[in-house]
Symmetry: C3
């Protein structure tokens, strides 16, 4: 029920950086969804927080860890700060392309962070990969459902699959004994590379055909 | 992982009353959403329970508390009783205005209860405010998503913001040393007053403009 | 917080069978929802897992049990295997009727499994019934919300009510001292029989009328 908790902090400072970067970037995508819907500052904050910390929250609930932001209010502050900033600087005027790339960074970062924390709890590699993917994608899915937008995540877009690659590469390298930092960088890069190729060359996964 | 649990009961009997009032009122709004959709008695019960205890359930999961209604079936009984009553007495014939006011009471009550329980767990003021807001709003959001209705909570309506005021006033007064009961009453009243003014004078938060 | 955990395995091997059967059947309905939406293999896997293990996951979070599939990756493997199989053998060409019947089996199985696990945690009969119903229905509700389909579960269909019957019969018989295995079989059969009658004779619950 309560295994020795290994926090992201203990794993590697690099992971903390990845974690905060992911939270900030996803919070921004949440705030922009609120902007598209001409929402209020309150909804900006709400969407930023759900998107920024939703995935990690689900991961922590599932693996039985204390929810990461509940005892560290700085995560909430990042989300609310990003929401206020997005409102003030009119971040929705940025080229949409910029956002897509930022989002790709957040996805790759969160997939590794989620997998790393799960392995740190002594859970199986398959479970760690699934948790990495959930960490990277759940916040965005909730954002889309609440905003009433069709979820990019549930289409032919190569997005969840890139998160699978990041998490799987990290987990595989770790199991093979590669140092955590190197495994984390390689994991994040490989998923990011796949996502980048998908964005650049407009690659899609094939849909099911009868 | 498992801090000394301070239940709402130990805090103040007044909070228990607020808590049950909030559950009953929100359960009623859930049942009425089912009525609008010409649903069955089963869906009445389902919506009443999700709306009545959904917010507190999320709060308890997040702060690591045992979910409040799991060991106290009387909360479920209140939800199911309200659902049956709403069906029998045709509560949906009530003027819509009555419901809006009841809902405002539930919102103010839950925001204080959620914040109080979270502070009782030794968590930070900012986290307590967020939990108060979640307790007050999450059930209604789920109700709206499931019923396929556009969520009033995610519009210009001054609703989440009133919950922020209730929770923040309670937390601020508590931190300043005001006795819990007084802080609770003042917190609930201030958020209710803001919501009341918003209903009466049709105040809205400004939406984002490019 | 952490009562002595009684796993489904310790209760009865028959329940394990019911549990895996339920996961497989629900995973199949998830994969088929993905097929109807012409989704990718990734979304097949995602929907299969959410539908197959979503209900039990919510149950475990609520009763404070370790989430059942987190330490037993074979549940995930069943979901992913079913998703791949559904893709390869074009399971969506099966008559829709076959699926409705499989789904009825899963519902009856999960209602009993959920109620049994909850009673095993020492929780009240009413709570056990509610947990049985959640276990049987929550995965399907999430599947429908994510797929953007109107949820059969929230209509006049006799579905949730059949889950109520299965869980309630199981709990009542257990409280009366009937051996678990017999209670489980009778519980599953009674809910299945109601659902079967509803399918066969097109029975519906009456909707609310003003």
């Amino acid at each position: 029920m309560a295994p020795v908790e290994i926090t992201i902090e203990q794993l590697r400072p690099a992971l903390v950086l990845l974690d905060f970067a992911g939270v900030a970037v996803f919070a921004l995508t949440g705030a922009l969804a609120a902007a598209r819907a001409k929402q209020t500052i309150i909804t900006f904050a709400f969407f930023a927080a759900i998107t920024g910390i939703g995935g990690g929250t689900l991961r922590d609930l599932l693996i039985g860890a204390p929810v990461f932001w509940v005892r560290r209010p700085d995560y909430l502050l990042v989300c609310f700060g990003v929401a206020a900033l997005a409102w003030v600087i009119h971040a929705d005027r940025w080229p949409r392309r910029a956002l897509v790339w930022l989002d790709a960074i957040g996805m790759a970062a969160f997939a590794v962070v989620g997998a790393a924390k799960t392995l740190g709890f002594g859970l199986a590699p398959l479970v760690a990969i699934v948790m990495g993917v959930l960490t990277a994608t759940f916040g965005g899915i909730i954002r889309d459902v609440l905003a009433g937008e069709p979820s990019m995540l549930l289409g032919p877009e190569i997005y969840i699959s890139a998160a699978v690659v990041s998490a799987a590469v990290y987990v595989a390298l770790t199991v093979l004994g590669v140092p955590l930092l190197a495994a984390g960088i390689l994991g994040a890069l490989s998923g990011f590379a796949l996502r980048a190729a998908a964005i650049k060359f407009n690659l899609k996964l094939p849909g099911y055909r009868r």
